[in-house]
């Protein structure tokens, strides 16, 4: 009954007044900012990261996890009410969710998203608690070669499942790796690519990069589009509760979505986005019952399934991050950054060396999910009001929070110049249709990959074959090659494009 002991320890940590408050504040702030159109979890976390610096590590991580779910959930609210996905993982929610809102059923749509997310969150927490210990044991058998190969798999996985051109996405990863190498080389002490700028000797911080590209880049791109006609269904949100009929229909979808999301979240490159797309596809394949609306016209399953799946995926994507120290997606990359700031090196040692932190975080995830339900259903009116605020009031505030957040991060003026530079670069990426998320993964993994490759080849006396002769490492590399091969198959690549254009 190790599992129960672990969870008991976790709930003991999470159920202190202080941590409950931080969890609540995180969920609240996350939803508040996540509701704003065009701001996904990534930008929200980057923006709010400095707020958590002053907290003790456990509280900071609990709050960040809360921000993550909050932002994720806020994105669905926007998707349902305004037909604007706040983030990629709620793109599919717009299809049926917005149609439900147009039919005056915004209330049940929002409620089914919340209930589905909660059920998925409960399952995700248990999956996380059950799978983390064995994976940690596996991680101790990993040598440098295995770690390197695992990172290759993670990076490849991340781009294969993303949208757009595969080659360009791989290019962005490599570009991220390059940026990550700027600064002092730990082995030789040589300062690389700093161009004699003192502030660059410690490398480029990931916060200004993330904020510049995801915050400023997005705002500039948003403003360059003509002001779009936003239709918000404010008056029609009455009667939150789904009917008994609704419940009967959505429950199987919730369970299917949860199962899919829990599995896909663990995969490298998986997480919320992939899970929600997969779940929607699955629901569409499931036969319609009598009297049910077709998909695309407001079927409740089209909301409940993907919303459960993205929450389950969000939850289980913590597993590779917490056990192996490898981020499966950019949000987790940011979390790793946050942990390093608090002097915690993510990886297999966290669970044994810091059990309070580990299990406290796991328990707080469940609490966070509960809070989301409690927070979102009664407060939905506030979020709706927020959606009616015109963009010209919102964007200067967002710019301010980005600038202030970047500065307070290190109290360093140089970071403000950096964020501006990356704002420009972010817009350039937008113009050239280059996806920025893989870059962030590469940025975090760059120094780690170099270090592991260096160690692996040092031990093998320079023989690159070590990556293929150690069975685990070879297996991981073969898996990466298979992933690329599968995506390049004509049949699959056509399907993959369809999945992303469909909307």
């Amino acid at each position: 009954m190790e599992l129960i002991n672990h969870l008991a320890l976790g709930f003991g940590v999470a159920f202190t007044w202080q941590n409950l408050v931080y969890c609540f504040v995180g969920c609240f702030l996350g939803t508040l900012i996540g509701v704003l159109p065009g701001i996904g979890p990534l930008a929200t976390i980057a923006m709010l990261l400095p707020v958590t610096y002053a907290l003790p590590p456990v509280a900071a991580l609990i709050m960040l996890a809360g921000i993550y779910y909050g932002a994720q959930y806020g994105g669905s609210t926007t998707a349902i009410l305004v037909n604007l996905p706040g983030e990629v993982s709620s793109v599919v929610t717009t299809i049926d969710g917005y149609q439900m809102a147009r039919r005056g059923r915004a209330g049940p749509a929002l409620a089914s998203a919340a209930i589905g997310s909660f059920i998925a969150g409960c399952v995700g927490t248990v999956v996380l608690a059950a799978f983390a210990p064995p994976l940690t044991k596996l991680a101790f058998q990993f040598g440098a070669a295995e770690y390197f190969s695992l990172m290759v798999l993670g990076l490849i996985g991340a781009v294969v499942l993303a949208s757009g051109s595969l080659l360009k996405a791989i290019g962005m990863i490599v570009l991220g790796l390059m940026l990550g190498l700027v600064g002092t080389d730990v082995n030789s002490g040589v300062v690389r690519f700093a161009f004699d700028v003192t502030d660059l000797t410690d490398g480029i911080d990931f916060v200004p990069i993330a904020m510049g590209i995801f915050g400023y880049g997005e705002i500039i791109a948003n403003l360059s589009r003509p002001a779009e006609h936003r239709e918000v269904f404010t008056s029609k949100v009455s009667g939150l509760m789904p009917t008994a009929e609704d419940f009967r229909r959505m429950l199987p979808a919730v369970l299917r979505g949860t199962a899919l999301g829990s599995v896909l979240g663990i995969l490298p490159g998986g997480g919320a986005v992939l899970s929600s797309f997969a779940s929607y596809t699955l629901e569409k394949k499931t036969r319609l019952r009598e009297g049910e609306l077709p998909f695309g016209q407001g079927n409740i399953r089209g909301v409940a399934g993907p919303e459960s799946a993205n929450n389950a995926g969000a939850q289980t994507s913590f597993i590779p991050m917490l056990t192996l120290g490898i981020p499966p997606n950019p949000v987790m990359a940011l979390m790793i950054g946050a942990m390093t700031i608090h002097n915690i090196q993510p990886g297999p040692l966290v669970m044994s060396g810091n059990p309070e932190l580990f299990w406290g975080l796991v328990a707080s995830m469940w609490i966070g999910n509960l809070m989301l339900v409690v927070l979102n259903l009664p407060l939905v009116g506030i979020w709706i009001r927020l959606l009616t605020v015109p963009y010209r009031w919102l964007f200067p505030s967002i710019v301010l929070f980005c600038a202030l957040g970047v500065y307070t991060n290190n109290n360093n003026q140089f970071d403000i110049w950096t964020v501006a530079a990356f704002g420009f670069i972010g817009y350039l990426f937008h113009k050239l249709e280059l996806e920025a998320a893989p870059l962030l993964l590469g940025l975090i993994l760059g120094p780690m990959m170099e270090e592991y490759l260096r160690r692996a080849l040092l031990l093998s006396r320079g023989d690159w074959g070590v990556l293929f002769t150690r069975p685990l490492s070879a297996g991981l590399l073969i898996a990466s090659a298979l992933l690329v091969a599968v995506v390049l198959l004509p049949a699959v690549s056509k399907k993959r494009e369809e999945a992303f254009v469909q909307e």
């Binding site: 051109s165 290019g171 040589v190 710019v399 307070t408 110049w417 113009k431």
Partner: protein, 162 residues
């Protein structure tokens, strides 16, 4: 030769230039050998990799026909200049430029500067609205960041606060 996909062509060019430059820069550091990597070894590797990817992307952009040529389109100079300008002004006003004897004006002035300049990025800009928004944000930031969270931020201009 005609460019058949403008976005990809320039993305590839960007990769090619950056990768080549990086690889060239890496050769300035000790390379070492695979068994004993110097600081230049891995950067050289990734630089070359990016250059190769860039060349491939460019090649595809020249060969494969794309609908409409995937044109890059006009640049949104107005938001670009004002958003980034607002940000730079914020940095300048907040702490000044000690090296050039420009005094810092503190958080409150910086917020007004940022909100007004960034606001001009929108075609619906109105000075009165911007000043109102700035006042609200300045008060809010003061209460939250300085009072509640105790962050060390210069609030007032250097010559007043001393």
């Amino acid at each position: 030769m005609k460019i058949k996909n403008e976005k990809d062509f320039f993305a590839g060019l960007l990769f090619l230039v950056l990768g080549t430059g990086y690889a060239w820069g890496a050769t300035g550091y000790a390379l070492g050998s695979a068994a004993n990597m110097g600081p230049g070894y891995f950067p050289l590797l990734v630089g070359v990799l990016l250059a190769v990817i860039g060349a491939l992307v460019m090649f595809k952009a020249l060969v494969i026909e794309t609908e409409g040529g995937a044109r890059i389109g006009a640049w949104a100079w107005r938001p670009l200049v004002f958003i980034l300008g607002g940000n730079l002004l914020f940095g300048l006003l907040l702490v000044g430029l000690p090296a050039w004897h420009v005094p810092g004006m503190g958080l409150v002035v910086a917020i007004y500067g940022l909100v007004v300049v960034a606001g001009m990025a929108s075609s619906e800009f109105r000075l009165r609205d911007a000043l109102l928004l700035a006042s609200v944000l300045a008060a809010g930031c003061y209460v939250v960041f300085v009072r509640a969270l105790n962050m060390t931020l210069p609030v007032w201009p250097d010559f007043i606060a001393g």
